[in-house]
């Protein structure tokens, strides 16, 4: 079992994050300035954390799914559904805590649906979650009846824009979720079981792991994370936008997980590294924005990053490294 140690800080992801932040600093000298105002921190770095939180939360759930050799394409749509449920409920006069619980429960249900399709009907994860990805936005629009539902409920707005101990609420939520999930998977056998299912589902079943239950749980957790993310995004703009909430965020979440070094072929995952991946993506976004490029330029940069990672992770590159450093044993960087 991996433990966080000093050696862990030498990972390429941290180097990449530092490099991106340094580039941002060169473009915008005030990038590392942090000020204290109205009982909370302000600054570009805090902004990177804050804006990166929704994707980081999605990435935490997505990491678990990808570790079982699956993928969840529906998280963006689930975000929209959860946001729509919460907004419609507070506008309808329900107490805010009930709206939050209902939104989380709906996210959990969406995840259970995905998990049921993957396990009980034995569908490929891409297809199973595609159903909800296509239909989910329609459902969210059905809930909001096609309008952007705006609200003034202080609790929901606090989730999106409030602060706790000086840090923005989304950052606090993301951090807490990361710590709790990491403890749950690394201090218990859960992580090992997930990796076992990811490496070989039938072998895991023969070894006595109830892979169906585990898979359903993992998809339900991804739906739950998506609902949290949806609440944050909804609270942030003080309204539920069924069309645009979480649009394309599933792709960002997958990208964050891949940058974090989780193998798309299952069996190897790291939740904190996925969060770092999400921060790298957000730092790039912020950098492109403050350097004055159009935000569309983002996509080109992102694709460049994916290609770079794929080349680095590929067996071909691993072969090159192996030849260079024949003395060293092959590192665990190869995609099997």
């Amino acid at each position: 079992m991996r433990r966080v140690s000093l050696a862990g800080l030498a990972r390429p992801q941290f180097a990449a994050l530092v490099a991106v932040l340094l580039i941002n600093w060169m473009l915008f000298p005030g990038f590392f300035d942090i000020s204290w105002q109205d009982g909370r921190f302000f600054g570009s770095l805090i902004d990177v954390l804050n804006r990166g939180a929704p994707v980081a939360i999605l990435a935490i759930g997505m990491t678990m799914v990808i570790a079982t050799k699956g993928v969840d394409l529906s998280v963006g749509a689930v975000m929209a559904i959860a946001g729509a449920v919460a907004a419609v409920m507070v506008v309808g006069g329900w107490p805010a805590w009930l709206a939050v619980v209902a939104a989380l429960a709906v996210g959990l249900l969406c995840g259970l649906w995905n998990g049921a399709l993957v396990t009980l009907l034995d569908m490929q994860p891409i297809v199973a979650t595609l159903v909800l990805m296509v239909a989910g936005r329609g459902l969210a629009q059905l809930i909001t009846e096609g309008f952007i539902v705006t609200f003034t409920d202080p609790v929901l707005i606090f989730i999106g824009t409030g602060s706790f101990l000086g840090f923005p609420m989304p950052v606090v939520i993301a951090f807490a979720l990361m710590v709790l999930t990491t403890l749950a998977v690394r201090r218990t056998a859960l992580g090992l079981l997930i990796e076992a299912v990811g490496v070989n589902r039938s072998a895991a079943r023969f070894a006595g792991i109830s892979s169906r239950l585990l898979l359903i749980m993992v998809y339900a957790f991804a739906g739950f994370c998506a609902a949290i993310s949806g609440l944050i995004v909804t609270g942030d703009i003080r309204g539920a936008d069924a069309n645009n909430a979480g649009l394309w965020l599933e792709l960002d979440a997958i990208l964050a997980v891949v940058i974090g070094g989780t193998s798309l072929l299952g069996g190897r995952f790291s939740i904190p590294m996925s969060v770092v991946g999400a921060l790298i993506i957000q730092a790039m976004n912020t950098g492109i924005l403050i350097s004055g490029f159009s935000p569309e330029f983002n996509l080109v940069v992102k694709s460049g990053v994916i290609i770079l990672i794929l080349v680095l992770q590929s067996p071909m590159a691993a072969g090159l490294f192996r030849r260079r450093s024949a003395a060293k044993p092959a590192q665990g960087k190869t995609a099997p």
């Binding site: 009907l121 891409i126 297809v127 159903v131 059905l142 569309e296 590929s314 071909m316 995609a335």
Partner: protein, 325 residues
């Protein structure tokens, strides 16, 4: 009846039933005018879906289709309006660019040994981003060639119009069927989808075929972009957003297995028509909001996947492994 034709027959039967039900509610839907509009309105989706069928038959997936359509429309608009090329020359350039793009993705999938899903995801970002870098705003295309094309059509009995873009789609489907069932390339695609390892052992040229498959998909997406540009007379970097999902849905509804190795190009045609039917019905109804389209298509997708599972578990005595590694 041949067992392997069952899903195709099921899809066709469901389309006929759905169409009859729609006609029973709105008799006006039973006309060649509506059918002609079906073909015109879904032409770009149909063309892209043919390419997607080949990709899915080989066990892969191409998420870059919609982005390539968007990129092509912008590239054509830029070449015609800013560079001053003749539309036909612009089309040739666009097809060449799309083909090269697909070949690069295919090469990456084969040589880097990464899932097609992630490579084409990068391709999607690249094509969308490239399109917005070319021009973030919509560019209108004004050219006599475009007006001539949009004015020419074949009059069908009953007053329906088979437009040029509708005709292109039908032609692409015909060529696609021939390519899938009557050529060596088609057999290679089915072989790879059945099992990559056995295909390689049988002597299928894996590198060449993989590159060709993604080249075909991107080229057809480029053609779909040309059709989209003829259809809207504009180039916009965000056009055809999410078409890859519609195309995948059409392929799945058409009875092609997402695990690869099994399916028909003709089924995809029915899948596209069924989506068109849902949209047209919602337009005819007038009281249903457009978001019902998404829900109904999602429900159809779900229904067909379950149907496929049932048919396959009923017809195959041995369990087909759907968990592809």
């Amino acid at each position: 009846m041949n067992r392997s034709l069952r899903p195709l027959a099921a899809t066709a039967a469901i389309f006929v039933l759905a169409y009859l039900a729609a006609v029973a509610v709105y008799p006006g839907m039973f006309s060649t005018r509506v059918l002609g509009n079906f073909l015109t309105d879904n032409a770009f989706l149909g063309i892209a879906a043919v390419g997607m069928t080949f990709v899915i038959l080989s066990g892969g997936i191409d998420l870059s289709v919609g982005a390539v359509i968007g990129f092509t429309t912008v590239l054509i608009a830029v070449l015609i309006m800013w560079v001053g090329l003749h539309p036909l020359a612009a089309f040739a350039v666009a097809l060449a660019v799309a083909a090269a793009f697909g070949a690069a993705m295919g090469a990456a999938i084969h040589y880097l040994k990464v899932p097609s899903f992630i490579v084409t995801l990068a391709g999607m970002f690249l094509a969308r981003g490239g399109a917005s870098v070319l021009s973030p705003d919509s560019i209108g295309i004004k050219h006599e060639f475009y007006t001539a094309v949009s004015k020419s059509y074949l009059l069908l009995p009953g007053g329906g119009r088979l437009t040029v873009v509708g005709g292109i789609m039908l032609a692409v489907f015909l060529v696609g069927m021939l390519l899938a069932h009557r050529t060596r390339f088609g057999s290679y695609v089915y072989a790879i989808g059945g099992s990559e390892t056995s295909a390689a052992l049988m002597g299928v040229p894996m590198a060449r075929t993989t590159i060709q498959i993604y080249m075909l998909s991107s080229t057809l997406a480029g053609l779909a972009g040309i059709v989209f540009s003829l259809y809207t007379s504009a180039g916009y970097s965000l056009s055809a957003l999410g078409v890859e999902l519609d195309a995948i849905a059409a392929v799945v509804i058409g009875g092609t297995l997402l695990t690869g190795g099994y399916g028909f190009v003709a089924g995809t045609f029915i899948g596209v028509m069924l989506q068109g039917l849902v949209q047209t019905y919602i337009v005819f109804d007038g009281t249903l909001s457009s978001w019902w389209t998404k829900i109904v298509i999602g429900a159809l997708l779900f229904m067909f996947i379950v149907l496929q599972r049932l048919i396959f578990t009923a017809s195959a005595p041995r369990r087909k492994v759907l968990w592809k590694t």
